[in-house]
């Protein structure tokens, strides 16, 4: 029943055609911009996977296939808004202004990975699943209390909807009608666990019904639909209309992380099939081709530009000074407690003698 009640909103179909009854509210230039942002994210992802294989970074979390969901949602935010990502949302944080170098440092086990540029409000990626939802509600609540029009956008996966914090976060957000957008990327799997084992519900959108908040299901591989839905939700939030739950239906092509072997639990040919049919970049390519607005040369120049940007970031990452041991102790407390200070002193004494 819920599948009917929550149809998957699309503007561009898999063939890159505007579906009947819809209008594409974007100029060719805007579509090209979307393409650029997704390409940038995808190229960074590919580079990262390669670097992991070469041992230049540690275990890495892929997002290939989810670019439309992440880029489209992030692009709908404005400066000053808040973003609460997970470990898989680097396409979103990159789009919202995170530093590419720092995102790469994240995969070297560096604290800088959680540190966005000054003035960009991005929380460090949440590790305990769903724990970031209450934070997003809280940060949005603070904005509401201050009377600003800033909103929170929070990312989480299909698996995350099973945690108590998913429920508590949405409930608080709905009770206090805070300006938060709960953006679910339903990629069908929580590591190896498919959606059917994760929930009895057929959609994630329907979970919003228990909180009496607007909820909608969108094609998470159609960036134009994602952007539009998030923009609407953000607008509602800004203008006092409270929180929204959005489900973006998508797919990760690859493994859960570079440490995971997806063939243990699913047939990877499904990923190949999806690459050829519903890929978010391919879809815009097809659209642009229909519009006669695609030039191979345009793409290669984009690729060049992005490659250069990535190479630069990689270089910065690789030349970045080694983590200083002070990072272990700094910022645990405003000022180290005496126990910690004694431990530091002992540690430095040992190092002084032996290393």
């Amino acid at each position: 029943m819920m599948l009917d009640q929550f149809p998957m909103r699309q503007i561009l179909n898999e063939e890159g055609q505007v579906i009947e009854g819809e209008q594409l509210p974007f100029s060719i230039e805007e579509v090209k911009r979307f393409y650029y942002l997704m390409l940038r994210a995808r190229m960074l992802d590919k580079k990262s996977v390669n670097m992991q294989r070469q041992g230049r970074i540690g275990t890495y979390v892929q997002y290939e296939g989810q670019e439309a969901a992440q880029v489209g949602s992030a692009a709908a935010l404005e400066d000053g808004d808040w973003m609460f990502p997970t470990y898989r949302d680097h396409a979103a944080t990159l789009t919202f202004g995170h530093s590419m170098r720092n995102l790469l440092l994240n995969w070297r086990g560096r604290l800088e990975g959680g540190l966005p540029p000054e003035g960009v409000n991005i929380f460090p990626p949440a590790i305990p699943i769903a724990s970031q939802l209450p934070h997003a509600a809280g940060a949005a609540w603070a904005e509401k209390k201050r009377g600003t029009d800033r909103v929170s956008l929070v990312y989480f996966g299909d698996g995350a909807t099973s945690e108590g914090d998913f429920h508590e976060g949405l409930n608080f957000a709905s009770v206090f009608q805070v300006p938060a957008v709960f953006f679910n990327q339903n990629n069908g799997f929580a590591i190896s666990v498919p959606m059917e084992k994760q929930m009895h519900a057929k959609t994630i959108a329907q979970k919003g019904l228990g909180y009496d908040i607007p909820c909608e299901r969108v094609d998470g591989n159609d960036i134009t639909a994602v952007y539009t839905a998030v923009k609407e939700a953000v607008h509602r939030a800004r203008s006092g209309g409270g929180p929204t739950l959005l489900e973006a239906v998508t797919w990760r092509y690859g493994a859960h992380t570079t440490a995971d072997d997806p063939t243990k639990y699913r047939d990877q040919s499904e990923s190949e099939r999806r690459r050829e049919t519903m890929d978010p970049l391919l879809r815009l390519e097809r659209y642009l081709k229909h519009q006669d607005a695609w030039k191979d040369q345009w793409v290669s120049s984009l690729e060049e530009e992005i490659s250069a940007e990535i190479e630069q970031a990689v270089e910065e990452m690789e030349n970045y000074p080694e983590a200083d041991i002070s990072q272990l102790f700094d910022h645990v407390y405003d000022v180290p407690t005496w126990t910690l200070q004694e431990q530091i002193d002992e540690h430095l004494a040992v190092k002084g003698r032996n290393g």
Partner: protein
């Protein structure tokens, strides 16, 4: 020069109420939130009158969800506010454990100082008020072993007000544990005006020569009883140190006292094994090994849950037990 300070004779719960009022008045960023803290004034009346005075935007009744309360407080704290969240009883803090352990205590470090959580989590705790199961748990040790937070336990109105104001002003998150048994059991003269009691400093409640007794919260009551009795009955005199802050502990006060008396006893009502008493023993070991004339004694709760209330008087460390431990230590 003398200054006169206006004081009032207050119970601990009144001291807490005054601290909250003081900070709500002084600092717009301070918020009070939790279950029944608003219109109802709190199940123990800690927040009585605050909702009327400051309104529902600053003194907030929340849904019944501890993780939600703490988790949204993290978001508000990182975004400029100073939430004072109440857990209705410490035994109901467990659903919020993930938020406290992985976010409240770590957001400062995880963000290299960009985001901080200068928040206070208040919770009534401890046995002795005939509460139902779970309500009386004493789990301060869960938090003294959690890097990134401080842990404070007042035992009287004066300390409660001064420590709570310090806790709210502290840049680090503070777990503020309020022994229910002390809420109304006695009154102290408390200045009307604002003052602070420094975190990390113990208070000497009594001075003696034969043994140092370390305790906190409601166990100061049983300890003082026992100590008065051994003094009268057996002429054994005791230092009694109310630690007040359990993390970071007052190392100097512990060392100074043990180095004077040569003997030590720790009294707390949490289960003995893994309790904060072990950490006091560790501090004594580290600072005062050569001064010790006898093994450190501890009188604590059993390695059992706090029982249903028909048995709680058997559970709580009694003056008898404390006296026995003092005698054993002195006779060693």
């Amino acid at each position: 020069m003398t200054t006169t300070v206006e004081t009032k004779n207050l119970t601990m719960i009144q001291g807490i109420n005054e601290a909250l009022r003081t900070k709500l008045e002084e600092d717009d960023q301070v918020l009070v939130l939790g279950q029944d803290v608003g219109v109802n004034g709190g199940v123990f009346r800690a927040t009585e009158g605050l909702h009327e005075q400051f309104g529902g935007e600053r003194v907030i009744d929340t849904p019944l969800a501890e993780s939600g309360i703490v988790g949204t407080s993290v978001g508000m704290a990182a975004n400029g506010f100073r939430p004072v969240a109440e857990m209705q009883f410490l035994g109901f803090i467990y659903p919020a454990f993930n938020q406290i352990m992985t976010h409240v205590s770590r957001i400062r470090q995880r963000s290299m100082g960009r985001y901080t959580a200068p928040m206070v989590i208040r919770a009534p705790f401890g046995a002795g008020v005939r509460a139902p199961e779970v309500h009386s748990d004493s789990v301060e040790a869960l938090f003294t072993h959690m890097p990134g937070v401080k842990v404070v336990v007042p035992s009287n109105a004066y300390d409660a007000k001064g420590l709570l104001i310090s806790a709210i002003e502290d840049p680090d998150p503070v777990i503020f544990l309020e022994p229910m048994r002390c809420y109304r059991s006695s009154r102290t003269e408390v200045p009307e005006e604002k003052y602070t009691v420094k975190l990390g400093k113990a208070a000497v409640r009594r001075e003696g020569e034969d043994i140092s007794v370390f305790t906190w919260g409601a166990m100061t009551i049983e300890t003082m009883k026992a100590v008065e009795q051994v003094e009268q009955e057996e002429n054994i005199t005791c230092d009694v140190i109310d630690l007040r802050t359990l993390y970071p502990m007052d190392k100097e006060a512990i060392a100074a006292s043990v180095q004077k008396t040569g003997r030590a006893l720790i009294v707390h009502e949490a289960p003995a094994t893994g309790g904060v008493s072990s950490e006091v023993m560790a501090v004594i070991n580290d600072t005062s090994f050569l001064y010790l004339c006898s093994p450190v004694e501890r009188v604590c709760g059993f390695d059992t849950p706090v029982p249903v209330y028909s048995l709680e008087n058997e559970y709580i460390p009694s003056p008898e037990k404390i006296k026995r431990a003092i005698r054993r230590s002195v006779a060693f």
